[in-house]
Symmetry: C2
Subunit: 159 residues, 2 copies
């Protein structure tokens, strides 16, 4: 069974997001060994300077890099990444599962990911040209992964 | 104040989705007159034929078309539509508000929208190459509209 690790930054403040993540985690347990790691978001002042944002991203990058296993296929979530249809994401997961025991998705904080993290990953994935809050993106990504596994398994979830 | 109408098909089964819609509706009340119309989803057997799906889409189209006002700018949500960045969606809403008093977004059922509805709309919008459940899409769209209004107003929500 493929391991799927989601590395995210910051806690989920809204209860509906926590419930959504719990629901998809339950559903995904049929298809993979899922782990969701929540790293600490570096606190920033109300109107941070670019320098302060960069320093925060560096801090978060250190924590993220220490969670990345060299054995896993690493996917950085970023708006400039490649978009895949649900079918193509399913193909990707299927292919990766032949060569790797783990797929790791990395979602940054509200300021994104440092280039260091992006370079350490094997692929950059985007779900939309639109910007979404990183907390809602966590739910969207779990749904996308759940749909991909359903496509691989040939269930009726993805019509 | 611009009116924003969301026409959707089917009720929200998960409580976390209902909570998310309620939260964004509350937030959006600062920026627009929002109405969310939920039309009845036509029931289909477990493994519907293409004919049965088409008939259901026709049924739903009738109900949707009767909700579309000729005075509103109508946007059909569909995976083959045009993607816009959050900034471009903000520009679009801003432009439309100069010529129309209402923007109407139409989200179909799990089988999508009939061509009749798509043709009756002024624009086809996609948020992702990936497929999302129409119920989660409702939350994603509300977030996207909320972000667009924040961009127009120059708040710090969209960094």
């Amino acid at each position: 069974m493929l391991s799927v690790k989601i590395i995210s930054v910051g806690t989920l403040k809204e209860s509906y997001l926590r419930e959504a993540v719990a629901e998809y985690s339950k559903r995904l347990s049929a298809y993979c060994k899922l782990s969701v790691v929540q790293l600490k978001e570096t606190r920033l002042p109300d109107s941070p300077s670019e320098k302060e944002i960069d320093a925060a991203l560096e801090d978060e990058a250190k924590a993220i890099l220490s969670e990345l296993s060299p054995r896993s296929y690493k996917i950085a979530m970023c708006v400039e990444g490649k978009q895949l249809s649900s079918e193509k994401l399913a193909e990707k997961l299927d292919t990766v599962s032949n060569t790797h025991s783990e797929v790791c998705f990395v979602i940054g904080s509200s300021h994104g990911l440092s280039d260091k993290v992006k370079s350490a990953c094997d692929m950059r994935l985007s779900v939309s040209e639109m910007t979404f809050p990183h907390q809602l993106l966590r739910v969207m990504l779990l749904e996308g992964i759940y749909r991909a596994f359903n496509i691989i398994s040939g269930t009726k979830y993805h019509k």
